[in-house]
Symmetry: C2
Subunit: 245 residues, 2 copies
């Protein structure tokens, strides 16, 4: 933090399911390129993250021209308490940046909402774009050392999203709402944030019907991505407060 | 918020010092273009913001081809409690986005820090770029209805910045720091955030010497702009807590 993001140890991503002590792990082409750029040589210490809770330490071997990492030790990090962000993303570039920042701020799942006011954009959030978002989430945890990356769900309409089973608290970002209440350290939280232009009255009513509580997250009206980041920060702080008083 | 940013009333920017009841206020070329895009006609209701605390209501007149706003009433909004963000900005586009988001989150001043690790970038933050940042701050309050825009200071080294007189609390964004403490609703806060790569040990020592307290602002390492936004949100929430309990 404070730009301290990025330590001296080389951190690389590994595919889920590949991290076990003694394994020689192959790397994705992106990671190979990263190593080439950093002029990494055989024997260097490497940390591997798989985005689903495993962190491994190992060292680099070069076989032929392909680098692999020989895993020496693996630790598992407990799955974080769910912090689900459902956002009516408007602009695709801004959505990618939001994914990156939300990963740093501890979101566990990001759901792109296909809302009435951003429908035409959300419908373009198709596979290639979702893959870019997933990649961005992984790149973000690589920079920041988290063992868990948020999952990026398939786009859903508010109605579809609200049919999912839900536990815990629910916040609806709303400049007219109340200041967010307390949040237990182990309490699931789902935050819904409208697109540019906001949810329609019908969409908003659906969220209220599903027990989402309107909360404001800053002194002014916030754009969707700012509201989303503010919600994650408020949630983190509230859980810390619950944990440590 | 929640994308609700942008109300039905047309909001325009006015130059500081121009807003008084009865005046016919000329508009900047950017605002004229904005009116043209929105196909606004004479007689429409307009809200004007000057970024330094004045909000005016009026209606549009067209003289020749130039639009003006006849001001009917002016309200003054109290200057917000200082919330100063000093950031070692790395990437210029990301810095502009940070300015926009920080304006929504209530920053009152943004100081681009010329740090050792982002020196080559910060030195490029020259007048044209600072003007773009100032413009972006104003555009942001226009979208979000705040009467005050953050000022964008001239770039300064940490040493120069720390020579400024300072009151109130001081936070240094730091993943190893403590959870931020309470903040009074009327207490000035200055937040320092390092660039990508972090402050050098020397820079960090200068901030600690000047009574900046290392605070963490999220569950993981944060990139500079994420740390800055998280700091503003934590500050807002802490002041709300002080205000309302």
């Amino acid at each position: 933090m404070g730009g301290g993001c990025g330590s001296r140890v080389i951190t690389l991503l590994a595919r889920a399911g590949t991290l076990a002590a003694g394994m020689a792990v192959a790397l994705d082409p992106e990671e190979e390129r990263h190593l080439a750029v950093r002029r990494v040589v055989a024997g260097e210490r490497v940390r591997l993250l798989d985005g689903v809770g495993r962190r491994a330490e190992g060292s680099l071997v070069i076989e032929g021209k392909r680098p692999r990492v020989v895993v020496e030790s693996v630790t598992e990090e407990e799955r974080p308490v769910p912090l689900v962000l459902a956002v009516g993303a408007g602009d695709r570039e801004r959505f990618l940046l939001l994914v990156e920042q939300a990963a740093q701020l501890g979101a566990t799942e990001i759901v792109p909402l296909e809302t009435a006011r951003a429908g035409s954009v959300a419908t373009k959030l198709r596979e290639a774009h979702l893959e870019r978002a997933r990649r961005r989430a992984l790149e973000s945890i690589k920079q920041c050392g988290s063992a868990w990356a948020p999952t990026i769900a398939e786009p859903a309409t508010p109605g579809e999203f609200l049919q999912r089973p839900r536990a815990g608290r629910r916040w609806l970002a709303d400049a007219e709402g109340a200041v967010p209440g307390p949040l237990g350290a182990t309490e699931t939280l789902t935050v819904a944030v409208g697109p540019e232009g906001g949810f329609t009255a019908t969409e908003r009513a659906e969220f209220l019907e599903a027990d989402f509580v309107p909360v404001r997250l800053g002194p002014h009206l916030l754009r969707f991505e700012t509201a989303a980041l503010a919600a994650l920060t408020v949630a983190w702080r509230a859980r810390e407060r619950d944990r440590h008083g």
